[in-house]
Symmetry: C2
Subunit: 309 residues, 2 copies
């Protein structure tokens, strides 16, 4: 790694929002607010989470930040500062770092995030990009997975499925929409869809101790899911049900709030896909009967959030 | 990675200090204080920063946390919460994760740190352990690298050199000592010695816009430096001057405060090794003359702090 790259990086970071003390000391310092401090981390690795032979490094850098922003949005929060660790192959390390950082800086600029620090190493292995993202949310406005009540409406912020056709590289985390919703309704529980609609809904339900009764015809199926179904041997619905990396939000709220959003604020694009019920599991209403739907999706290897049960 | 490991991990983390919301949601939430929020990150990689063939994985886990604690201590702060990302070889990944986490939990328990979250992946590459550490410090008590004044005393918290003989695996970051010093004196600048006494002193001086005139006979040379000199072909002083990973603190303060510490509080173990001067560079007093000493040490590949100049 050339020191000139680090000088370049420091220069590029100057245009990002300022914090009390950024890159250049033993640790960064952020001026406190009265809000809860949010923190999350997620890493993507070449060959595991993206393919440098197919995807641009700029996209990989963008994605590494965006997936963390989505986690902050799912808490009802706003991202503030990122710590970025690049682990680089020995060959072309400076060139790779530069391309990855173009995407990182693009995402940080777009979402108003400063780069508070980081670490860069080279080694005999594939490119890995780790982002630790700090954010904040008012204490009485935090959205947990565990807050859903029985008979809450289950809302989805957009269409899902088929993100692998390209959207997964350029996720648009729903920070602004989440902030808008904070002013309009009381969200009781939230999660972002990283591993699949059904799998992440199952997690929210499990954390809240409820089940879900779904009107599956109401689930907004993304056109990419239909396109993918043409060649995948699976239905568009199956893709919507189990594909990951949509980075839409799943939210619960009381029926009154849900009706307000669907009837009075259609421009926000939320769809009610069902309601929470007392019996656990995911269920589908079907000819006046209900049938159980098994959650399916991408089992992320070990993100700690999955220790929730 | 077996889900049972994540369940085990969540159980083990229960005994650590609690935060508002820990592992198990999209992000962790920490209750705010009126203090500055500190954050830093540092990664160690098998084959680059340690050797799993020679060092225990528990030690590697311990070290990954301790080196970050040292950065928080160097800001005059106290560590609070860690986000841990493990990147594991495909083979024996669960066993490796367990051993690494024993050391991580040991360090977190010892220094009162909670594990707020993390990520675990497996891949075709060497073990990498990334820790992002959050801490805090009162706004008027933060120690920067850039605060040293001309004619400040330069103080060292312990003996240096030869850490490669074993101490580098079990660093004891000076958090408690830093907190004690916060009550006794006004530290004007601080840095921890990770890359070598002379290199890190040079960084502090550069950030503060001063130089250093050293009484090199006063530099406490660790017995390990003398032991290492028996076989290395270099002198014990050279090891003290340029070996890294001592994780002692270099501090500057006015001469009055320095005298108070050395004369009234010898039990704290601080040694004055020189003073800051107006002309930049590191200098040694020598027979009424001064000679320039070139900084030497381990050039870390890319920790962002090195973008300071």
């Amino acid at each position: 790694m050339e020191l000139s790259f680090l000088a370049y990086l420091r220069g590029r970071c100057r245009s990002l929002p300022s914090i009390h003390l950024g890159i250049g000391d033993d640790a960064a310092a952020i001026i406190p607010t009265e809000k809860l401090q949010l923190s999350c981390t997620d890493q993507i690795i070449d060959g595991v989470d993206f393919l440098s032979a197919e995807h641009s490094l700029r996209d990989a850098g963008y994605k590494s930040v965006a997936i963390n922003i989505s986690d902050i949005a799912a808490m009802g929060g706003v991202p503030k500062a990122a710590l970025v660790t690049l682990t680089l192959p020995l060959e072309d390390s400076t060139k790779i770092a530069g391309e990855v950082y173009e995407g990182i800086l693009e995402a940080c600029t777009k979402y108003g995030i400063t780069i508070a620090g980081g670490d860069i190493s080279t080694y005999e292995g594939p490119l890995a990009i780790n982002v630790c993202l700090l954010g904040e949310v008012a204490e009485n406005k935090i959205w947990r997975r565990s807050g859903a009540n029985e008979n809450d409406a289950i809302m989805l912020t957009g269409a899902v499925g088929g993100s692998i056709l390209g959207r997964h590289l350029r996720p648009e985390p729903k920070v602004a929409l989440a902030q808008k919703l904070q002013t309009l309704v009381d969200v009781t529980a939230a999660i972002d869809i990283s591993d699949g609609l059904s799998l992440d809904l199952d997690r929210l339900c499990a954390a809240s101790g409820v089940g879900a009764e779904l009107d599956t015809d109401q689930i907004p199926v993304h056109p990419d899911a239909a396109r993918l179904a043409e060649s995948s041997g699976r239905s568009a619905f199956q893709h919507a049900w189990s594909d990951g990396e949509d980075f839409e939000l799943l939210l619960t709220m009381n029926q009154h709030d849900a009706d307000h959003l669907t009837q009075q604020r259609p421009e926000l694009g939320l769809t009610q896909i069902g309601k929470t019920v007392g019996r656990t599991g995911l269920w589908r209403k079907y000819d006046r009967k209900v049938e159980r739907l098994p959650p399916q999706g991408y089992m992320h290897q070990g993100k700690h959030e999955q220790t929730s049960d």
